[in-house]
């Protein structure tokens, strides 16, 4: 899997870095999605190109690392279950799916989307039809959670002890 391939050449240089950033952002949104919703959006996105399985979906473990005191040297905290898959489009683009949990279908969907966003032809379809609706929903959910958290913020100036009045 680490051997050189034509697609990797496109990721060199500045445009390559920008593409990495865009793929990473898309992967984060896709990984955070609900499989059912992702499947429905993909199904509604229209005709998708032929692709082959580069790596059959499989489950495994990832050792999670933390840092001592949050920002120091690393240590192993514990493991996570991970599902992964890889696909290759007929046009050559390879897509990779890594998601927390053991959902093989989700890993495969993420891999397919990752491959598709690397093509000029399908990028708008996947971005507008799949990723953006998921992103919007996630943004909304996080905003609500943040607002509920903010309501539990302690405003210390309201806490005046009686004896301080004397």
């Amino acid at each position: 899997m680490t051997t050189a391939h034509p697609v990797s050449l496109k990721t060199d240089g500045e445009s390559g870095l920008a593409q990495h950033a865009a793929r990473r952002e898309a992967m984060a949104v896709l990984a955070g999605s609900d499989t059912g919703e992702l499947a429905a959006l993909l199904a509604a996105a229209g005709e998708l190109p032929a692709h082959e399985e580069l790596r059959k979906p499989e489950s495994g473990l990832l050792m999670l690392r933390g840092r001592i005191s949050g920002d120091g040297s690393p240590f192993n905290v514990g493991e996570l279950t991970v599902a992964r898959a890889a696909v290759k489009l007929a046009s050559g683009e390879m897509g990779f799916g890594y998601v927390l949990g053991r959902d093989h279908e989700k890993a495969r969907f993420v891999a397919l989307c990752d491959a598709l966003v690397q093509t000029d032809r399908f990028r708008p379809l996947i971005e507008n039809g799949v990723i953006e609706p998921l992103r919007a929903r996630q943004r909304e959910a996080r905003k609500l959670a943040a607002e509920r958290t903010a309501a539990t913020r302690v405003e210390f100036f309201t806490l005046v002890r009686g004896e301080d009045d004397k």
Binding site: G32, S73, N76, R148, A150
Partner: protein, 368 residues
């Protein structure tokens, strides 16, 4: 030594069928779904993930159900499951500074930048049983207020500016990160291995040890500098992809304990730190982990080390509840041959004792 027990198979099979029947309980009562356990017994799930050392809510919920709520048994099940999967690699270290914070408090600074947010906490509840929960009544909608987009720097960063607190140990690329799941523990253990051990250690055991340091057995004068709970991004550098792939977000609890340190011949007095980081919402565990982490640094900081919590071999060898329960519970296995040998020995010793009774009596009389 153990001996095979013949003809036990039928009894064992029937016992397991009976166990399954007992586990289900009264069939008139609806069966529990994994989603119910994961959603409504969320902290039990968090504890099983943390001490099972495997983050997977669904599997942890299944383990709790299978173990009939016996959390140590559930942790055992999760550890056993883990051994069936291949490891893809190590994550990038999580950045708790970038956590989407749902709770963040400090007992050291009242007005810390970013503020204190209580989040979902048992603190300040009256610990009175709420009989409303006996039913399934609707709960109030949480309040929402606009978010102030203040950064939440680590409390330690506030003290670091003046050199009042020790810096974090810096990464050393030449030193591989220790991993207990790959090589057995040996002593003295580096801090990375100690923290891994504590992260999966038994909460009750660590709680007692942390408590013992507060009561004077290896006093460390701790302050809860900061406790934060929330979601962090998990990333993995996958070679075939060529960049760090985001895999999703997990919930973690972090505790930065700040401790007094008088200084040594070579070091000016400054605050030192203990660190706790655990899967899920595990505040008590993160705090006790930080207390014990700091206690175990006694040798490194040139402190007198004579309390149990400062004895790394004692702490790290007994913190794992799967190992502990395995060794304690193995006493239930047939030890018939061992016991026969002991029985023979006790009989012989008693015979010797009786044979020499007159002799002892004579010695005693002579002494008087």
């Amino acid at each position: 030594m153990y001996v095979a027990v013949k003809d036990g198979e039928r009894a064992i099979e029937n016992a397991h069928t009976l166990l399954a029947h007992e586990r289900r309980g009264d069939p008139q009562v609806p069966g529990l779904s994994l989603a119910q356990i994961s959603e409504q017994l969320a902290l039990a799930v968090d504890r099983v993930m943390s001490e099972g050392s495997l983050y997977d809510r669904e599997l942890a919920a299944l383990a709790i159900k299978q173990a009939r709520g016996d959390l140590i048994e559930a942790i055992f099940l999760l550890r056993a499951y883990r051994a069936t999967l291949p490891r893809f690699g190590m994550s990038e270290p999580v950045d708790t500074g970038a956590m989407t914070v749902r709770r963040r408090i400090s007992a050291a600074f009242k007005d810390l930048p970013g503020g204190q947010v209580l989040g979902p906490t048992f603190d300040y509840t009256h610990r009175l049983l709420d009989h409303m929960l006996a039913g399934d009544t609707a709960v109030a909608q949480p309040q929402s207020v606009p978010v102030q987009a203040d950064a939440m720097p680590r409390v330690s960063d506030l003290l670091a500016a003046d050199g009042l607190i020790e810096p974090s140990p810096q990464p050393d690329a030449s030193k591989p990160v220790g991993d207990l799941t790959r090589e057995p523990l040996s002593f003295p253990a580096e801090r990375d291995l100690r923290l891994q051990n504590l992260a999966r250690g038994d909460e009750g055991f660590l709680l007692a040890l942390g408590y013992s340091t507060q009561r004077g057995y290896g006093r460390t004068h701790p302050f809860a500098g900061e406790i934060r709970l929330g979601e962090v991004d998990v990333e993995f550098f996958a070679e075939e992809v060529g960049f760090a792939v985001p895999l999703g977000r997990i919930t973690m609890t972090e505790c930065q304990m700040i401790n007094q340190f008088h200084g040594s011949a070579t070091q000016a007095p400054q605050f030192t730190r203990g660190y706790g980081l655990v899967f899920g919402h595990g505040e008590r565990k993160a705090m006790t982990m930080a207390l014990v982490d700091r206690a175990l640094r006694a040798r490194e900081l040139g402190e007198e080390a004579n309390a149990p919590a400062q004895d790394e071999e004692f702490v790290l060898s007994h913190s794992d509840n799967v190992q502990a329960t395995g060794f304690v519970e193995h006493l239930k296995l047939p030890h018939y041959v061992d016991f026969q040998a002991e029985l023979g020995l006790v009989r012989r010793m008693r015979a010797d004792f009786e044979a020499t009774a007159d002799e002892r009596l004579a010695i005693q009389e002579a002494a008087e």
